[in-house]
Symmetry: C2
Subunit: 291 residues, 2 copies
C-alpha cells in the first residue's frame, strides 16, 4: 500500500473542502476570511481530519458524509495555533514555514481570525446533513469538550501558567493540550458512524497513545531539528525555558516512550477487527516524521 | 405587570445556571474557569438569554428546556467582550463596573477565557436534551453563523479595521456587531420551539430593530453618561475617534431613530399573536435605560 499517495489524496480532498469555507465575497469584513485562509490553507498535514475520516469508515460510514467534521477539526487546530503564536502567548513569528498570522495580518486580525475559525467550525459541524442529528449533536458535544476547559484549553492553561516540575503534570498537560483534539478526531469518527461505547473507548485509548507519541516527537524535533525543515524556529522550547519530555526524561527515554506509545496505538487498532491498514501506516509514519 | 420583578427572576435563574458551568475542581487549569466566571457572573442584564427564553415560550416551548441555549448566548456575548477589551483591540481597562478580564487575570489568561467561553457555549448547546436533535442542530448553526464571519466577528472586523465614513457602512457594522447575536437569541428561541419560517422571519425583523435601537442608546450613553453608571469609562468612543450614530447623525436624529426602531420592534411583536407583554415591556425598557 502506498500510504504517501493515500495521504496526499486525502489532503487534496480536505483542502478543496477547506478552500470553500471562507470565500472572499467583496464584503468589508473580507480581511478576516483572508487571515483565516492564510493560516488554514497550504501548510499542515491534515492528520486530525484524516483520523476522523478513517475511524468513520472503519465503523461503517461513507466518508463523504463526514467531511464537515473533518474540516472543523483542522479549523479548531488552526485557531489554536494562531492564538498560541500571539505575542501574549508563545510569541512565535513563524508557523508552518511562513510568518505567523499576527505577523502577516496584525494582532487584532489574528485574534479575530482565531475566533472566526473556532466559531465557523461549530457551524459546519451543525450543518452536517445525511448523518442522524442525534449523532451530530453527540459529536459536537464531544468535540467542544475536547477543545474546552477539560481539553485543549485546559492544557494550554497549564502550559502557560503552571510551573511543570514532574512527569505526571507534564503528561497531564500533553494529554489535554495535544491528545484531546486527536482523541476528538478518532472518537467523533466513531460517534458519527454510530459505533458503540466499546469502540469509542478503543478510539480514545488509541488517540491517547498516538497523541503522546506525537508530542514527544515534536519535542525531539524541536530540540534538534532544522528550522527550515519543521517550519518554525527550533529551540523555541529551550528559549522559553520550557520543560518538555526531552528535558525531563532525556532524549533516549523520550524516544523509547514514543516508540512504546506508537506500538501501543497499533495494537489497539487490531482490536477493531476491520481494515486498519491506513491507520497503522499513518501511526508508524508519525513516529518517523522529520517535521 | 411588574417587568422589573420578572427580569430579576429571570436573571436569578439564568445566573444560577451559569454558576454551575465552570466549577472550580482543584485542577491545575482552574484559573481559566475562574477567569471565565469572573467575566460571566454578577454583571450583565442577561438580555439575550431572556429574549431567547421569551421567544421560545411565545412559540409554545416550556422554557426549562431552553436554558442551555440561553446560557450559551450569554457566554458568547461575554467572550466577545473579553476579547474586545484586550490591548490589541479596544484596550479597555474596565467592564461591567470592574477591571476587565485581562487586567484581573493577565492578557494570556483573558485570551484563553474568551476561547473557553466560546467553546463551552457550543458544548452546552449540543448537550441540550428534551428538544428534538434536528432543532438543536439548526439552532447551533444559526447561532454560530450569527457569531461568525457574517455576523458578530464580521462586525468587529469592520469596527477595528475599516474607516467608517457613511451611514450605510455604520449600520452594516451595527447590524453585524450588535444585532446578530440579539437576532440569534430571538430566532434560536423560535427554532428550538419548532416555529415556522414566518415566525423566524418576524423574530429576525424584531431583533434587527431592537439591536439598532440598543446600539444607538449605547452610543448616546457613551457620549454623555457617567462612568459610575454605565460601568466603563465613558467617552471612550470619542477618545478613539470612533464614528458612532451620535457623531454621524447628531444626538437628536439618533434618539429619534432609536425611538422609531423601538416602536417598529413592538409592532412586529403584535404579529406573533401570542402573549408578548414581557417582550414589549423589555423592549421599551431598553430604550429608556441609563446604563
Amino acid at each position: 500500500m502506498m500510504i504517501d499517495g493515500i495521504l496526499r489524496e486525502y489532503k487534496l480532498k480536505i483542502d478543496s473542502r477547506l478552500d470553500i469555507i471562507f470565500p472572499i465575497t467583496g464584503q468589508p469584513y473580507d480581511t478576516v476570511s483572508e487571515a483565516s485562509r492564510y493560516s488554514l490553507l497550504e501548510g499542515g498535514k491534515r492528520i486530525r481530519p484524516i483520523l476522523l475520516l478513517e475511524f468513520y469508515k472503519l465503523c461503517g460510514g461513507n466518508d463523504d458524509c463526514a467531511y464537515n467534521f473533518a474540516c472543523a477539526l483542522e479549523m479548531i487546530h488552526t485557531y489554536s495555533l494562531i492564538h498560541d503564536d500571539l505575542p501574549c502567548m508563545d510569541n512565535d513569528d513563524m508557523r508552518r514555514g511562513k510568518p505567523s498570522c499576527h505577523i502577516a495580518y496584525g494582532e487584532s486580525m489574528a485574534l479575530l481570525a482565531g475566533d472566526n475559525l473556532l466559531t465557523e467550525a461549530f457551524k459546519i459541524c451543525a450543518k452536517t446533513q445525511s448523518i442522524p442529528a442525534e449523532r451530530v449533536n453527540k459529536a459536537i458535544a464531544y468535540l467542544a469538550s475536547a477543545a474546552g476547559t477539560t481539553g485543549m484549553i485546559g492544557g494550554q492553561v497549564i502550559d502557560t501558567s503552571v510551573k511543570i516540575d514532574n512527569e505526571q503534570l507534564l503528561f497531564t498537560m500533553y494529554s489535554l493540550k495535544t491528545c484531546a483534539l486527536i482523541r476528538a478526531a478518532a472518537v467523533c469518527g466513531v460517534i458519527l458512524a454510530g459505533g458503540d461505547d466499546k469502540k469509542i473507548s478503543l478510539a480514545e485509548s488509541y488517540a491517547e497513545n498516538l497523541g503522546i507519541a506525537f508530542q514527544i516527537i515534536d519535542d525531539l524535533l524541536d530540540s534538534e531539528g532544522e528550522a527550515s525543515i519543521i517550519g518554525k524556529p527550533t529551540g523555541s522550547d529551550s528559549k522559553n525555558d520550557k520543560v518538555t519530555s526531552v528535558t525531563l526524561l532525556g532524549r533516549e527515554r523520550a524516544l523509547s516512550m514514543a516508540s512504546d506509545m506508537t506500538n501501543g496505538a497499533i495494537e489497539i487498532l487490531d482490536q477493531f477487527g476491520g481494515d486498519v491498514e491506513v491507520l497503522k501506516e499513518l501511526t508508524k509514519l508519525l513516529l518517523k516524521r522529520d517535521r
